[in-house]
Structures are given as C-alpha cells and as structure tokens.
C-alpha cells in the first residue's frame, strides 16, 4: 500500500528566507508525486508534480521540489518565502505500477511565513 509522511505539522520561516517542507513516501512500484496547497476556506490547488525525468521539478508560484529515489523523498522548496505563501501544504503519491489507484495524501504541513 502506498503512503506519504509529512513529518512536520508546522514550519515557520522569515520572509525572504528559503523554505523547505518535507515529504517522504512509500510505494511498491514507481511513484507519481504531487504537491498541493490549501489556502484558508479554499479547495486544494495543484503546485507541481513528478512523473519521470529530471529530479528537480518546478511549479507554480516559484516553488520547486526534488525527487530523491534513494531517500524516497520529495521535499518542497522555495528560495525566498513570501508572507502570501502561508498556507497548508499537502504531499501526495500515486503508485504508477498499480493502475488507477487513488491519490494518497499526507497529513499536511502548515507553513507560516513571518514578515
């Protein structure tokens, strides 16, 4: 069975500093990996995905994530945080080798960017 772990419930960072939100995954086959963001009282917005190819993927709003197969990680990063980045971030995984399996989400990490 596939699973996702987001070890931090909360990440605090000063505006202008780099940010990292951690994610590790477990699948039996090859993973499809995703990051979503949820602003207060809103649905989820897709940020970026890793399917295959370059391990560093770039997404919306200046975010990027690095796929590390040996560490089974897919950490979300941004070089310079903005106060407007404050939101709830979800990592998700799907097992490529298991057909149309559902997307499994981590428990979420709340990012707080302080001015």
């Amino acid at each position: 069975a596939q699973s996702v772990a987001q070890p931090e419930d909360q990440v605090n960072v000063a505006e202008g500093n780099p940010l990292t939100v951690k994610c590790t995954y477990s699948v039996s086959g090859n993973p499809y990996l995703f990051w979503y963001v949820q602003y207060p009282n809103r649905g989820l917005q897709f940020l970026l995905k890793y399917i295959t190819g370059d391990n560093l993927v770039k997404g919306s709003y200046g975010f990027e994530a690095e796929f590390n197969k040996s560490q089974t990680s897919f950490h979300l990063k941004k070089p310079s945080a903005l106060v407007s980045d404050s939101a709830l971030y979800f990592c998700a995984v799907r097992d490529y080798n298991s057909g149309n399996t559902p997307l499994v989400f981590g428990k979420g990490t709340r990012l707080s960017v302080i001015a």
Partner: protein, 114 residues
Amino acid sequence: SAVISQKPSRDICQRGTSLTIQCQVDSQVTMMFWYRQQPGQSLTLIATANQGSEATYESGFVIDKFPISRPNLTFSTLTVSNMSPEDSSIYLCSVDQGGVGELFFGEGSRLTVL
C-alpha cells in the same frame, strides 16, 4: 485545467437530516473522486465515481451513508445521509484529467452538523 463548481459551499445541518452536494465540471471527465477533510486532518478518499457504473467506496465508507450519483461525464452528487456531528467536514470533489494522477479540486463544501 478543469473548473469545478461545488454547491453548497457551506451549510449548517441538523442531526439526522441528509444533504446532497453537487459537483459540476466544465469539461467531460471519466473519473471523479469525493474526498473528506475533517477538521485539522488530511484528505481521505470516500469513493471513486465513474460514469455508467456504481461508485467504488473506500474502506470505512458505505453506500447507504454516502450515496453517489454520476449521471453524465460532467456532473456528480454526494449525499451525506442521517448526519451526525462526526460528519462535520469539508467535502471535496475532484477530477482526474491528466491521466497521471494530477487531480483538480473544487472549492469544497463545508458542512457543520449540530
């Protein structure tokens, strides 16, 4: 990307009643998913709804409690039946357009059961 509209956006319901949530997509999609997000929690898949077939429910969710309709390729409904305070959650409709698992979500329906 697909534009997904959900109704109602929020509601306050009485214990024992039922509420139907509607999900409308601006394009035809094969697979639609219903998720639940309980307060302070992650998203849990309730069921997968494909047009022309019965919905497939995840462990812990049953059709009597969460009946789903999928009459065509752009519309689905989720009913939360005989509600209790434990059903207070955000219910999210999502669709798979890309074929590689990238889901698009509606804004969610926030239900509060008193």
